[in-house]
Amino acid sequence: MLTSGPVVVMQVPENLDAGEVNAFMGELGPLLESNRPRIVLDCSQVRSIDSAGVEALLQCLEEALKRDGDLKLASLSPEAEVILELMRVARVFESFQTSDEAVRSFNALPVDAVTQDAPWYSTVFGDLRAVKEAS
């Protein structure tokens, strides 16, 4: 397993099928339990994924999103790309040509850059309170 700052890059096994899913989830599970997990799955070695494998990937994505993180795919082998398209999940995942690109995409917009306390419309309409006072 490789780490690049807070983003974790993990290699997906060659055959992500019912036999491999438990081991894969066992390795990925602790990472998903952290706060705002940011995970890149390197799929360059993938030769086959079955429905159990796709289900596992979706489950991981769901867990990451629940904890305000994300899970991205990188270096998709042609086989992985065909399988994800076949099973209609290719569009669900954000995918990148390389792991580095995927890692950089996490850092492009630092999480702390967005003030969590400010109302969502504040950047668009400015401070409504100030407008009201001026009028």
């Binding site: 099928d17 429905s51 042609p78 399988i83 398209e85 076949l86 099973m87 209609r88």
Partner: protein, 333 residues
């Protein structure tokens, strides 16, 4: 009396040396016997030969033949380890001034009577068909000139030939991409490779016993083979064909794809630019062959009554590294 000898197998370049096992040749042999739009190229070729004033046809292959083309009184089938030697033996035994010899191979639309007339007018010992892309494995030869040893192919490849130009449709069927092209051309009416079934709407053909559920949608041109089933909410479009005894399950989209005989395609899938047979999927856009072990997604439907190919699975015999990828443009990065 004019006869034809049809060889279903590799070209004879390896004849005698035993080098007949390259993946390309194996797949080439199989393609002629793969059901496309309801019928094999072999079956269609035999029919056209008999319609074109050929009195009888001898078919020689390296394996057992599909029952779909057997049983015709004017057609004899032989299985031989070296089909070229067997062809030489058969051709030499014929009487008459000409024998038409062809290897499948390519799907060629031609007029046998016209080619025979051309051969007789030229008064040469060997005529070979060609088109603008080069020579085809189709010859007319005098039976008395056929070499009685395993040199037949070398003799046919000699330069002392009279070329006969075929202006009609030719598909060399050298790769799965050619196969998809032939199906697409057949559905679009660009050749005489017509779907075998009832045209229920313009461009939509349904084979005997096929079942299409009420909410399934077929967009022309498309072909659904005999005894196939298309479940609810499916969409079949962009010159796709679902060959006989196959099942497309609920909500799946089939686009620019051929589903070969006896194949189950699972629920809610998106299948495009591919050829599928049993658990094998060849994606022509990505140039990838997959073997799906998950029967929920793809699987072979067991049907002991139907054998669509000469030697079982067509895609299972295909070495995609040697063959299909060479004809598939590399994906742009």
């Amino acid at each position: 009396m004019v006869r034809a000898v049809v060889i279903v197998g590799p070209n004879g370049s390896g004849s005698g040396s035993g080098e007949l096992s390259s993946a390309k040749l194996v797949a080439n042999r199989s393609l002629a016997c793969v059901e496309m739009l309801g019928r094999t190229v072999l079956g269609r070729t035999i029919e056209e030969l008999l319609r074109g004033r050929i009195d009888s046809v001898v078919v020689i292959g390296t394996g057992p033949f599909t029952s779909a083309v057997m049983g015709h009184e004017k057609v004899d089938f032989f299985s031989a380890q070296d089909p070229w030697s067997k062809a030489a033996q058969k051709a030499a035994s014929f009487d008459g001034d000409a024998v038409l010899l062809m290897r499948l191979g390519a799907y060629v639309e031609f007029d046998p009577a016209d080619m025979l007339q051309f051969y007789r007018d030229q008064d040469r010992q060997l005529t070979r068909a060609c088109n603008h892309e080069g020579c085809l494995d189709l010859w007319v030869i005098n039976p008395s000139n056929v070499p009685r040893n395993d040199r037949l192919f070398a003799f046919l490849e000699s330069e002392n030939i009279t070329p006969y130009f075929i202006p009609g449709y030719v598909n060399r069927l050298e790769s799965p991409r050619d196969m998809r092209q032939l199906i697409s051309d057949g559905l679009a009416g660009r050749c005489h490779f017509r779907p075998q079934g009832l045209e229920i709407k313009p461009g939509i053909w349904i084979g005997h016993g096929a079942q299409v559920e009420r909410t399934a949608r077929l967009v022309a041109p498309t072909f659904i083979g005999a005894n196939s089933k298309i479940s609810d909410q499916c969409l079949i479009t962009r010159a796709s064909s679902v060959e006989s005894n196959s099942h497309i399950d609920y909500g799946t989209v089939i686009e620019d794809t051929t589903v070969l005989s006896n194949t189950y395609v699972g629920i809610g899938l998106d299948l495009s630019h591919s050829i599928v047979e049993g658990g094998h999927l060849l994606n022509l856009q990505h140039g990838v062959m997959l073997r799906m072990s998950d029967p929920v997604v793809l699987r072979r439907i067991k049907n002991s009554k139907v054998h669509s190919t000469i030697d079982g699975s067509f895609l299972a015999n295909l070495d995609v590294r040697n063959m299909a990828l060479s004809s598939v443009p590399k994906k742009e990065q």
